[in-house]
């Protein structure tokens, strides 16, 4: 029973599973926002999630919806296969930056270009979390990771990829935004964007993605609090927040 004075309860969209994420990691926040949105839209029953390979490989343990587990980077292709045969279901992928922006670049770009009616939750924490903090395409210039131990040198290791800006150029995209999870205000704004991304799909308005700037205290070697500060002070300037594409029909949606 939920006590009457409870201010924070488990959303209906969650199963009773203890988290496997590290303390201070914002994956848990992102999961919760998705679960709340699916519950508020009353679509848990007809939702099929696609989990990636990365820290969120076990995302399927937490959501009380059907779930499949994709090969590394291929979640948008699997989601395409599901949505094309079950167009009345809600299908979403949940992907990290190694999964989506590195090995899965082909799949994500073409799912967006085809205007697949999918929702993509993209967690950008500037490194490969699960394998122990290697450099990702999103790693900031100069940032030290286990595979860029002298700091990312853009001369030899290239520049960060700005996925939200890039995908926003494609005509098949209905909604594409970047938000951050570093404080309460931004978490509220992130939830609104996630809602719009699922509303885009529910209305058949094309591909929708929300990029979420996130923490990785363990691999960054920071306390949870300092990780949040790092996002605010270093990630947000490099990855500006905002709506990069929002079609007219979605602008009209009042939540």
């Amino acid at each position: 029973m939920i006590p009457e004075n409870a201010v924070c309860v488990r959303p209906e969209g969650f199963t009773e599973t203890p988290t496997h994420y590290c303390p201070g990691c914002t994956h848990g926040v992102a999961h919760r926002l998705v679960a709340e949105v699916l519950q508020e839209m009353n679509v848990l029953d007809k939702t099929i999630g696609v989990a990636p390979v990365g820290c969120s490989v076990f995302a399927y343990n937490y959501f009380d919806t059907d779930f499949v587990e994709a090969p590394h980077g291929r979640a948008p292709a699997m989601a395409t296969g599901i949505k094309r045969v079950l167009p009345d279901r809600i299908v979403f992928t949940y992907q990290g930056d190694g999964d989506l922006a590195s090995i899965g670049m082909g799949e994500i770009v073409h799912a967006a270009a085809r205007g697949e009616n999918l929702t993509v939750i993209f967690v950008n924490n500037a490194n490969f979390g699960m394998t122990g903090g290697q450099m990702a395409p999103t790693t900031l210039p100069g940032m030290k990771t286990t595979s860029s131990q002298n700091g990312r040198d853009v001369e030899t290791q290239g520049y960060p990829i700005k996925m939200a800006e890039m995908l926003a150029t494609l005509d098949g995209v209905g909604f594409c935004a970047r938000r951050s999870l570093h404080d309460a205000k931004n978490i509220r704004l992130a939830k609104k964007a996630i809602r719009l991304a699922f509303e885009t799909q529910a209305r058949g308005l094309g591909f929708a993605m929300v990029e979420l700037l996130s923490t990785c205290p363990t691999n960054w070697g920071m306390t949870p609090v300092n990780s949040l500060k790092f996002v605010e002070e270093h990630m947000v300037p490099a990855y500006p927040l905002g709506d990069y594409k929002i079609s007219e029909a979605i602008k009209q949606i009042k939540i």
């Binding site: 848990l44 099929i48 499949v68 291929r74 094309r84």
Partner: protein
């Protein structure tokens, strides 16, 4: 249904549609592209799903996603493209969902060429993707057989929650022959107890994954696949026999190589040579038992393939060294003429290889002196 003139690739596509194909995902590659092209018109016409994917990686993972919902789904490709699909094929096997694939094989390795070949036998039959699994592999030798096996592929894939791959060479894919189409089956969605198609207020959530993080659980899963494979081996072996009753020499060949060999066998029979043909229709499960039985009563085998002797090893395993197993192959996209195989029959009718000789070495030595 009357017989009509069908091109192999288009016939395969139409047969799949009639077997209840609900979704096709593919990518252009010669010599299979007509399957993709045909279905780009036919599937939308019937309100079914068709996507030309961004790559074979994309295509196979779209197949994987749709397969998880329990519908009849397929992709098709040719050798280099199938190599790209191997990742997805392993995941599909590891998730135990049914999926159907067609490989219209061409010369290789690498980019190779676009001529007919059978060089992907090992890749198809002995796995290809990572991990412990065994796919069902069918090998038609004519347009009609390709149609019939296409329909069977879906039934077998569903029955065993397995990957079912049809391997044919560019000859069967590109050739036109009179063939009879099956009746159109209505699309029928089974209420599978494993499909992730949304709870829809009727059940608890389902998860489909190839992850077994505990090795002990993965071992159980591997054994489950192996037990299922034993059932498939016991029930699904298919082959064609020609003139085997009194045969002293038996040719073993699949697909086009088997069909060419049949012409040679007919000519040799006309000359009074007691030769027969065994043409495996399922190359996986392999008809080992019938070969083992034949080994007890014939004088020798001749394996003919359009590769360097890949099925040859499976025949040798079944024969167990009891009689000589000789080999004749053409490679790289070359198709043997019946005369080439007839020459081998003439040679073997006079003198056979020693039972302990290496058939591939002996064949190469003959080629060098020819």
């Amino acid at each position: 249904m009357p017989k009509e003139l069908w091109k192999g690739n288009e016939a395969i596509a139409e047969a799949a549609v009639r077997a209840g194909l609900e979704a096709y995902f593919g990518y252009p590659i010669t010599p299979q592209t007509e399957i993709l092209e045909y279905l780009s018109r036919r599937m939308p016409e019937l309100g079914r799903a068709f996507v030309q994917a961004e790559s074979e990686l994309g295509a196979i993972n779209m197949v994987y996603g749709a397969a998880c919902t329990g519908v009849r789904v397929m992709s098709s490709s040719s050798s280099p493209g199938v190599s790209l699909m191997m990742e997805g094929i392993s995941y599909i096997a590891g998730t135990e969902v049914p999926a159907v694939l067609v490989n219209v094989m061409r010369g290789g390795p690498g980019l190779g060429n676009i001529a007919p070949a059978q060089a992907d036998y090992n890749q198809a039959v002995h796995g290809g993707g990572h991990g412990d699994y065994q796919p069902i592999v069918l090998a038609p030798a004519s347009v009609q057989e390709a149609i019939d096996l296409m329909v069977l592929s879906f039934d077998l894939a569903e029955k065993y929650r397995s990957v079912c791959m049809m391997i044919l060479d560019g000859c069967v894919g590109q050739m036109m022959e009179p063939a009879q189409m099956p009746e159109m089956r209505p699309v029928h969605r089974e209420n599978w107890d494993w499909a992730t198609n949304g709870k829809m207020g009727k059940r608890e959530r389902r998860i489909l994954s190839s992850i077994y993080i505990e090795p002990a659980e993965e071992e159980k899963m591997n054994l489950r696949l192996l037990n299922r494979w034993q059932t498939i081996q016991a029930n699904e072996v298919r082959y064609k026999e020609y003139f085997l009753d009194d045969a002293e020499i038996v040719i073993v060949g699949f697909g086009t190589a088997g069909r060419v060999a049949l012409s040679a066998v007919r000519e040799a029979r006309a000359e009074g040579i007691k030769v027969g043909l065994l043409r495996p229709v399922t190359v996986s499960p392999f008809p080992s038992e019938v070969i083992e039985q034949l080994a007890g009563r014939v004088d020798a085998f001749l394996v003919t393939e359009m590769n360097s002797g890949q099925m040859l090893e499976d025949v040798r395993l079944a024969v167990k060294g009891r009689v000589p197993v000789e080999f004749y192959g053409r490679l790289g996209g070359m198709v043997p003429f019946p005369d080439e195989i007839l020459n081998e029959i003439h040679r073997m009718a006079k003198s056979k290889m020693a039972v302990n000789a290496n058939p591939r070495d002996a064949w190469l030595a003959r080629m060098a002196t020819a």
